[in-house]
C-alpha cells in the first residue's frame, strides 16, 4: 500500500495506482475538478499516465459558491 495526502488527509491506496484510478475509487467526476500533484497542475489528459507513490500530495478542487 502507498500512503498519500489527499486534500490534507492521509489515505492508503494500492501501489502504482494512477490518478485516474484514484478518482474512480473515490467516485470523483473528472469533468468537474482540477488536480494538483505535488504542487504541479496535472492536465486532464494525463490522469491515466500519472502514477502515485508514497508521500505524494494531491489536491482535488472544484467550484463552490463564492462572492
Amino acid at each position: 500500500m502507498a500512503k498519500i495526502q489527499l486534500n490534507g488527509k492521509k489515505v492508503s491506496i494500492k501501489p502504482k495506482a494512477t490518478i485516474y484510478e484514484l478518482l474512480k475509487k473515490f467516485k470523483l467526476n473528472n469533468k468537474k475538478i482540477a488536480i494538483e500533484h505535488n504542487g504541479i497542475i496535472i492536465p486532464k489528459s494525463n490522469y491515466k499516465k500519472k502514477y502515485l507513490k508514497n508521500n505524494d500530495k494531491l489536491e482535488v478542487v472544484h467550484f463552490i459558491g463564492g462572492g
Binding site: 488527509k9 473515490f26 478542487v61 472544484h62 459558491g65 462572492g67
Partner: protein, 257 residues
C-alpha cells in the same frame, strides 16, 4: 438609439449585474436568486472537494456552467502565489480564461493588497488570462492595472460584505472617467439604491453578493437589484437634468387666473 452593449474581454453580457454565489441558505435559493437577478455571469470560488461526503450537493448541479458564465475568483487568497495557483487550477477545471483576481491584504477589512494584486495581474495577463481585478479606489493604481492589461477594473464601494454602500463617489467617478476598460463596482453595495447610484454615475456594471444573499428575502432582493441596475443604467444613458439652486415651476405661469 445606439444599442447599449456590455462587453468584458470580448464576452458579451446581457445584464450589467454580476452576482456572487456565496452565503445563500442552500443551492436551491442560490439558483433561484440568480435566475431572478437576470445575471448571466456569476462568481465562484475554488475549494477542495469533500472526499469523505460526496452525497453533499454541489454548485454545478444547480447552476449549469454551460448556461451561465462562471467567473472563478481568488477569494481568501492573501498572496500572489495563492491567487495564481487558484486561477491556474480554475483554468484547468473548465478552460476558463476570464477570471476575477482578488488578493486580500487584511483579515479584518478584506482590503485589497495592491502590491500583490499588481504583481499577479502582470503574471496572469502574460499567461493569457483575461483578468477582472478587485482593487482599491485609487486612481493611479486603477490606471496601472489597465496599463498592465486588466480586462476590467473592480474598485470596492466599501469593505466586502459590509453593506456600507459607495463611500468614495469622487474616486469612483474619476476612475470611470479615466478607464477605457469596464469599471465594475465590487464589494460593499448594501441595497438596491446603492447599485442605482453606481450605475447612474456611469459604472459599467456592479457585482453583488451579500446584499442579495443576506436579505430577508433574497429572491425578491435579486429582482430589486435587477431593476435597480437597469434604472441606473438608463438614467446614465438618458442624462439627468441640471441641478438648480432655486425653484423653477413645472406649470406655465402664462394665463394664470
Amino acid at each position: 438609439m445606439k444599442k447599449d452593449i456590455f462587453k468584458i474581454a470580448n464576452k458579451r453580457l446581457k445584464s450589467r449585474l454580476i452576482v456572487g454565489t456565496g452565503k445563500y441558505k442552500n443551492f436551491k435559493q442560490t439558483a433561484q436568486a440568480i435566475k431572478e437577478s437576470g445575471a448571466d455571469m456569476v462568481t465562484v470560488a475554488v475549494r477542495r472537494v469533500n472526499i469523505i461526503d460526496k452525497k453533499k450537493p454541489i454548485l454545478t448541479d444547480y447552476l449549469n456552467p454551460k448556461k451561465i458564465i462562471y467567473l472563478p475568483n481568488t477569494a481568501g487568497c492573501f498572496t500572489s502565489e495563492e491567487a495564481l495557483r487558484t486561477l491556474r487550477l480554475a483554468r484547468e477545471m473548465g478552460g476558463w480564461k476570464l477570471v476575477k483576481l482578488e488578493v486580500l491584504g487584511d483579515k479584518k477589512t478584506l482590503y485589497p493588497n495592491m502590491i500583490e494584486t499588481l504583481k499577479s495581474t502582470k503574471t496572469l495577463v502574460k499567461e493569457g488570462f483575461k483578468v477582472m481585478v478587485y482593487c482599491t479606489d485609487d486612481l493611479l493604481l486603477a490606471k496601472k492595472l489597465e496599463d498592465l492589461g486588466a480586462s476590467a477594473i473592480m474598485p470596492l464601494a466599501s469593505p466586502i460584505g459590509s453593506g456600507l454602500g459607495l463611500q468614495n463617489k469622487v474616486n469612483i467617478s474619476l476612475i470611470i472617467k479615466q478607464s477605457k476598460v469596464p469599471v465594475i463596482v465590487d464589494a460593499g453595495i448594501g441595497t438596491a439604491s446603492d447599485a442605482t447610484i453606481a450605475m447612474e454615475m456611469g459604472c459599467d456594471g456592479v457585482l453583488i453578493n451579500s446584499a442579495i444573499a443576506k436579505a430577508k428575502d433574497p429572491i425578491k432582493m435579486a429582482q430589486a437589484f435587477k431593476n435597480a441596475v437597469i434604472a441606473g443604467r438608463n438614467c446614465y444613458l438618458a442624462g439627468r437634468m441640471k441641478k438648480n439652486y432655486f425653484a423653477i415651476p413645472s406649470s406655465p405661469t402664462d394665463g394664470l387666473i
